[in-house]
């Protein structure tokens, strides 16, 4: 049971990653692809954050009375990654809007068919 609980975090992370990957690979709608991309990203956040947690520790803000703190380094990396993530998603959405204006659709297949014609 403890083994199961210990690995649960990683398994949830893996499931999220695979879910995001599946959305990106299988769905043709570009907005949905971007949502899948962001789910993939969040799974990476979890992948970084969950090893940094120390059981019985507290948030890495130094205060008297606490001895054990979680690892601050992944927090720093992920903090910037989130904001960068939303900026890149915005860039992708801008591309989607332009594609919609140029082709009148946001489906992958339809754009490719129009290109082929």
């Amino acid at each position: 049971m403890t083994v199961f609980l210990a690995d649960l975090n990683y398994w949830v992370t893996i499931f999220l990653m695979i879910g995001g990957l599946y959305i990106i690979a299988a769905h043709g709608n570009m907005i949905k692809k971007l949502v899948g991309l962001s789910i993939f990203q969040t799974s990476v956040y979890l992948l970084f954050l969950s090893p940094g947690k120390v059981l019985g520790g507290t948030a890495p803000i130094i205060a008297p009375g606490f001895e054990v703190y979680s690892n601050p380094l992944p927090h720093v990396l992920i903090l910037t990654a989130i904001v960068v993530g939303v900026a890149t998603i915005a860039l992708g959405l801008a591309l989607v809007v332009r594609i919609h204006e140029a082709y009148g659709t946001i489906e992958d297949d339809e754009v490719q068919e129009m290109e082929a014609d």
Binding site: A59, T80, V83, V86, A87, A90, L93, A94, V97
Partner: protein
């Protein structure tokens, strides 16, 4: 968008100063509690975006004009990079804040504040700029749809 809802307007007007003050608190209290430039920037941008969503983007652009936003994006990066250059001129490595005050500890403190301010400016203005262009596009699309409808009626 939702320009006619009285409840939303009143609630947003009450919430706006609270959100902005919270953003500033997060910004300047970031060394002591959770927070920092990234969070504060997003919170401040969210306040303006809320205003823009309820009262229309033109109103929001009267408060924070597009020109200022577009100037602020590179300004934040310049503040950050300029801090590094300044520390080089003061005889230290790039982005080492120790020489900014008489004691290295105080220098680090000042350096963190300045750098966080740069982060705040860039993040907030980038988010706002993105919102402005997307929202402006949406308004234009509405207008074009209206015009197209009229043209179709005439034709």
């Amino acid at each position: 968008m939702m320009r006619d809802t009285v409840i939303l307007r009143v609630v947003v007007k009450l919430l706006l100063p609270a959100i902005l003050i919270f953003a500033l608190y997060v910004q300047f209290h970031g060394e002591y509690g959770p927070g920092g430039g990234f969070q504060a920037g997003v919170a401040a941008a969210a306040a303006i975006i809320l205003y823009g969503m309820i009262f229309g983007i033109d109103e929001a652009q009267k408060v924070v004009p597009r020109r200022i936003v577009n100037t602020m994006i590179p300004l934040g990066v310049l503040i950050f990079a300029g801090t590094g250059v300044a520390s080089m001129f003061l005889g230290e490595n790039y982005l080492n804040y120790s020489p900014f005050a008489s004691k290295p500890v105080n220098g680090q403190h000042v350096g963190i504040l300045v750098v966080e301010a740069g982060v705040f400016i860039t993040v907030a203005s980038t988010m706002l700029a993105i919102f402005y262009v997307f929202g402006g596009r949406a308004d234009e699309a509405d207008q074009r749809a209206d015009e197209a409808g009229k043209k179709g009626g005439e034709g």
